[in-house]
Amino acid sequence: MMMKKSGKENQFSPIRRTLLKGSALLAGTALIAPVKVKADSQQIQDPRTMQPTAGLQTDSDVQVVHSVCLGCNARCGNRSVVKEGKLEKYSGNPYHPYNHQGHPIDYATPVMETLSLSSPVCAKAQDAPNYIYNPYRILQPLKRAGKRGSGQFEPIGWEQMIAEITDGGRIFAHLGEKRVVEGLQQQNSDAPIDSNALELGPKRNGFVFITGRLQSGRKEFIDRFVKGAMGSINRIGHTDICGLGFRMGNFALTEKKQVELKADPWGSEYILVFGANIYEALQPGVNTYGAAVAARHSSGKVKFVIVDPRLQNASVHAEDWLAVKPGQDGALAMGMIRRMIEQELYNTKYLRAPHPGAAADLGHGCYTNATHLVIDDQEHPDNRKFLRISDLETKSTNTNKQDHHVVLAADGSPVAFDTVDEALLDRETVITADSGRTIRVKTAFRMMKEGVMEHSLAEYAEISGIPCSQLKRTADDFCSYGTRAAVCQYHGAGNYTNGTYAAYAVAMLSCLVGSVEVRGGYLTAGGGMAPPGKGLYDLQDFPGRLRGKGVRISREKACYEKSSEFCRKKAETGNGYPAKRPWFSFTKGGLSVESLSGIDEQYPYPCKVLFTYFYNPVYSTPGGYRYRQTLEDRDKVPLHVSIDTSINESNLYADYIVPDVTYAEGHYGWLNPHAPALRFTGIRTPCIEPLTRKTADGRPYCLETFLIDLAEKMNLPGFGDNAISDTAGNGHSLHRAEDFYLRGFANIAHGAGVPSASEQEVAFVERNYPVAGFKKILSADEWRQTCYILARGGVFTSYEDVFDGENFKYGLERLALYNEDLALARNALTGDFFSGTLTCLAPADSAGNILAEKDQEYPFTVISHKMNVHSQSRTTSHRWSMEIFPENFIVMNKKDADSLGLRDGENARLVSRSNAGGIVGKIKTGNLIRRECVAVSFHYGHSQLGASGLPIRQAEKVFLGGRQVVDKNGLKPNPKLATGLNPNRISRLDEHLADTPMVDLTAGIPDFSSTRVKIVKDSKA
C-alpha cells in the first residue's frame, strides 16, 4: 500500500495519548509525536511502502481481529491485520496480560480507542504468516497409495473418505492388501474388548485418539466425539512429552490438585530457575515471563539463579549458574534441603501450622501436612497411610471426625489436626489406640527428613555435580528472602526416568520457605472467568452420551493390582508381578509414549483404529524413531487417520491424512492462563477464511467438519440435529464448528457477566471477524454480549486482581510433605511400593539399571532445549527465523572438544547404545555448557514438512504452494528444511521393554536427559 494523500488520512485514528492515563502500557509507549518531514522536502522513492496496521484499520480493505496465538502453547493474545483477505501481520493484544507483563489496559476500554496502541508479541508470532501460508500445507484429503511410509498418497474425495473410515472393508485391495480393515463402525460396540479381562472395557476402546498440540475448545470437541459419542476411554493427550516430569513433582506436592506452579515473576525477589528456559520458551512465554523478569531485573527488583547443565539466554541477567549434571536436579534440591534442615533455615512456624486456619493466621494461603502423623509400622494394616482418628478411636461412633489426620499437640498428645494451632514437627513416637494396639508413627516432616538424610551434603554435591560451597550458598541465599523466593521449574527439572522425585524435591524448596500461594512465591494459575460448557447452552451433556470405561491403552490412572492379568499371575505364581508393561496409578496422565508402546505391544489390548491429531511422535518423542516400526505394522495399527496441516515424519505412515486449518482460520477455543497467578479466558477466533478446500455444502475441510461428518454418517449421539440444548430445553443442531464454539463463547460472556457490546463494538466485530458470518446461531442479545469478548479477544483481569493482601485468592489449600496416594502406589514390574516422600533416585531403565553407570562407555550425556524463535516440531516454515538460525548444532564444552580434537564447524557423529548409526551435526564449542554434556536444540533435523520429495499424485492440487513446491515426481525436496539434527533420533530405548522409548515407572515420564553418546569425527566432513 502506498501512503495515501490527504482525504483518507483524516480518517486515521491518531494515537490516543490521553486515553489511559497512568497505565503501565502507556508509560512505555507513544512517546513520540508523528514525525513530520519539512514540507519542502523533495519527494523520494522509498525502498518500501507502508504495511497496513490496526491503527489504520479504517482503511476499507483492512481487517483487525483480537484473538489468541498458537505459535506455541504459551497462548498469548494477538491482533491480526488482514488486508484483502490475507494475513499481513500479528502484533499483541493490548487487553491481554500476556502481552503486557501482566499489566494490560483497562478491560472496559472501548476497542476503537486501542487500535493504535503498541502491543508486543514474540518472534514466533511475528513469523506466523509464513506458518499460515506455508506452501507445504495440504488442502485436501489424502489416501495412502503405496506402502506405509513410502510417501505415496493420492487425493480422495471427502465423502468417499468418510465412508471408508466409517465402514472399513478391503479399502487397500488395490494396493494388494487383502486384509479387511475394521472401520470406526465396528468399534461402536459394547461387547468386551477382551472377554477374559472385563475391566479393560468395551470394544470401543480399540479406537484410540492421540492428540498432540491440543487446546481447550478443540479438546472438548474431540472428547465429545471420542468419549461421548464413540464411548472410547482412549482420548490421550501428550502431556508426557510436553513435560510431565516437573508436573509430577507439583502433582505430588499438591496431592493431585495442580501440576503447574511457578515463581511469581511480578512479585518475587529471588527465583531459582530449575530447567526452565525463561528467556527462550516457557509458558507463559518469552514476552510474558521472560520480559517481566528482565524488566524487573533491570531495576534491581528481582535476581535469579539458573540451574541447568546448559547456560541459556537468561544467563545475560543471571546472578549465578549451577551447572547441574543432567538428571540430578533432585539431588541438588535435596542437598539444599539438607542444608536447610541442618541450619534450620526452613519456615518453622509455617510448617508447624497443622490446618488452614492456623496457616492463615500466620499470613499464608495454604498449609502443609508436615505435622501430620504417618503410620510407619509394618505390622499395621494401614502402614504407609496417615494416622486417622479412626485408628485411635476404634470404638467411636463420631463419624465426622473418623477420617481426620492426627497430629501431636505441644504436650505430645495425639489430637485431630484441626484442634490445635501448632503441632510438633519433627517427631516419631508410638501411640496406643483405645483397643490397646500400639502404632509406630512419624510426622510427615520426619518422613521427608529421613529421605533427605540418606545422603550427606558432600554426597549430594558429588551426585549433582555442584560444589558443596555453591550448594550451601544457594540454599542460604534462597532462604534469605522470606516468602519472596521460589523455584521456577520446568521441562529440564524432572523430564527423565525417576523424575517424579527430582521434581518433588525441587517443588519442596518453595514449600519449606512457606512461599506457596503467597505474592512473590510459588503460585498456581488463577483459572478461567467462566465455564464454556454450560450457562446458556449445554455443551457437555446430550441425550445418549457415553462415558469411556475401562483401562486406557497407556495404563494411566489404572491400578495393575485390579487387573485380571495380576489375578491370573498371582494364582499361577503366588506373585502377580511383573506386569507385561508398567501401569501408572499415580500420574497426571497424557501418556502418549506409553500409548504408542501399548499399541506396539498390543497391550493391554490391540488398537484397531488410530486417529492422531496435530501429533508427530516419530519426530517429537525421545526415541520416537522406534515408532516408525509400530506405525508401519498393519497388524498393530490396522487403520491410521492423521488430522494435520502438513505431512510430517509420523503421518507419513498414515492411511489417510485429513487436512486441517491453522489458528488463523479456525482452532476456535477458550484459553485459560498458565501458572502463575493470572486469571482470564482468552478467546481464539479466526481472522481469515479457511485455506483448505470445502465440502459440497461449503464447510471447510478441518477437524470439526471431519468428526461431525463421521458422527452423522454413523448416527452417533451428540452431533447433527438437536444435539445441543439450551436452558429452555430447545434443541439446536451441531453441523459445523461454529455451532459449538460460538455457543461456548456465549456461555463465557454470560457466565463472566460482561456487558453487551456498544453499537460501535458490535459493528467492529461484524466488520472484521469472519465468525460474525454465523451470528444467527445466537440470539441478538447473546450476540451483543458475545461481541464484547470477541472485540477484546477474551475476558481479562490484571495481576493485582488475584491477591487478597499477600495471599493468592485462587490457591491450593494443602501441600504434602508426604503423599499417601504415592506411598500406596506400586511399581507394576516389581510390586515394590513407591516412596511417599522425597528420595534421591538416579535416572534408570525399567530394570533399575542406573543409566550413567550402564552406559559408561558412552561418555557424553545429551540434553535438548527449545529456541526462542521456534516451537517444538512445526516451525521450519518460519522463513525469517530460519534466516537468522538456518541450522542447529552439537554444542559442547571447548575443553571436551579440544580433548577430542574437534573444532568449531566440523561435523561429528553422535552414537548411542540404541542408535549405532547415530546422527551427524556441526560442532559448536564454548563455555556455556557443563563438561561431558552436549546440547542439541529441537526444531531441526526434519526429514518431512517439505524436507524430502514425496511421490504424491496430483500434488499441485494438494499443496498450498502448488507448482512452487511440486514437479512431475510430486513434492520437491527443499534442503533448507532438512538442516541440522534432531536429538530425539538417538535417544536411549529400553531393551527390557521391547526396545520402546524409556519411561519413568512411577508416572510414565519420557526420558529427555539420560541418553549417553560417543562423539566421533565424521569422516565425510
Partner: protein, 221 residues
C-alpha cells in the same frame, strides 16, 4: 504474492513514498513538526528474544538473509560466563559517513535526523555500504543492488506509530522518543542513565544509544 517493496518501472507498479504528503494530516492532529526521533536500548532488559528482528523482517521485507536490525550475540568471559545480546541497526548518525560517501547524493539526512536512501537516485555503487562503520547497509539483489537500511520505520512514524521493532519489544528494552521533546521514560533515561554508543571513536554521533548490561565500560554522551 504482492511485494511490499514496489518500485517504479517494476511490473508497472508506481508506488512512491510521498514523504511530504502527510502535512495535511499532521496539521489536523496539531502535533509538533520538530520531532527528532532517537532510540535508547537498555541491555539490562534485552532477553535476546529476536522479536524485534522478525517484526522488522515482517514489516520491511528486506532481502533474504539481510536484516535492518539484528542481534549480536557475544559470550562474556565472566564468572559465571554469560551471553550478551546487542540489538544493532542503522544509528541514524548526526554525522553519517554514508552521506558524503554517496557520489549521487542518493542518501541524505532528513530534517528530522533520519538517514534515508532515495532509490530513484541510488546507482548501486556500494560506496555507502563501505563507508558505514556499523555494517548497517546492504545491497538488495532483488532491486538492482540498490541499498537498503533501517529508517526507523519512517512511514509508521508519519502515521503516529512506533517503529516495528519497538512495538515488538516485550521487555521494554527499546525505548523510543523525541530528542526535541523528551518525555516519560525516554526523558528519564536521557537524564539519569549512563548511555553509550557503538564505536564512539568513529565520531558519528549515533542516535541509537545503549545502556550496557551490568558492569562494562560505558561513556557519557
Amino acid at each position: 504474492m504482492e511485494t511490499r517493496r514496489t518500485f517504479i518501472g517494476r511490473g508497472g507498479l508506481a508506488a512512491v513514498g510521498v514523504i511530504s504528503g502527510l502535512t495535511g494530516a499532521e496539521q489536523v492532529r496539531g502535533l509538533s513538526s520538530q520531532a527528532k526521533p532517537a532510540m535508547i536500548i537498555d541491555l539490562n532488559r534485552c532477553t535476546g528474544c529476536q522479536a524485534c528482528v522478525i517484526a522488522c523482517k515482517c514489516y520491511t521485507g528486506t532481502a533474504p538473509e539481510q536484516f535492518n536490525t539484528r542481534l549480536i550475540l557475544e559470550v562474556e568471559d565472566t564468572r559465571p560466563p554469560r551471553l550478551i545480546f546487542t540489538p544493532v541497526q542503522c544509528n541514524q548518525c548526526d554525522d553519517p559517513p554514508c552521506v558524503p560517501a554517496c557520489p549521487e547524493g542518493a542518501t541524505f539526512k532528513l530534517d528530522n535526523g533520519i538517514v534515508v536512501t532515495d532509490w530513484g537516485k541510488c546507482t548501486s555503487s556500494g560506496d555507502c555500504i563501505r563507508a558505514c562503520p556499523y555494517g548497517a547497509r546492504f545491497a538488495d539483489s532483488r532491486y538492482g543492488q540498490r541499498v537498503d537500511k533501517c529508517d526507523f520505520c519512517l512511514a509508521r512514524l508519519q502515521a503516529g506509530l512506533e517503529p516495528a521493532c519497538v512495538e515488538a519489544c516485550s521487555s521494554g528494552a527499546r525505548i523510543f522518543g523525541d530528542l526535541s521533546n523528551p518525555r516519560g521514560e525516554f526523558s528519564d533515561y536521557l537524564q539519569n542513565r549512563q548511555l553509550t554508543v557503538r564505536k564512539p571513536e568513529k565520531l558519528t554521533k549515533p542516535n541509537v544509544r545503549y545502556v550496557n548490561a551490568g558492569q562494562g565500560t560505558v561513556e557519557r554522551t
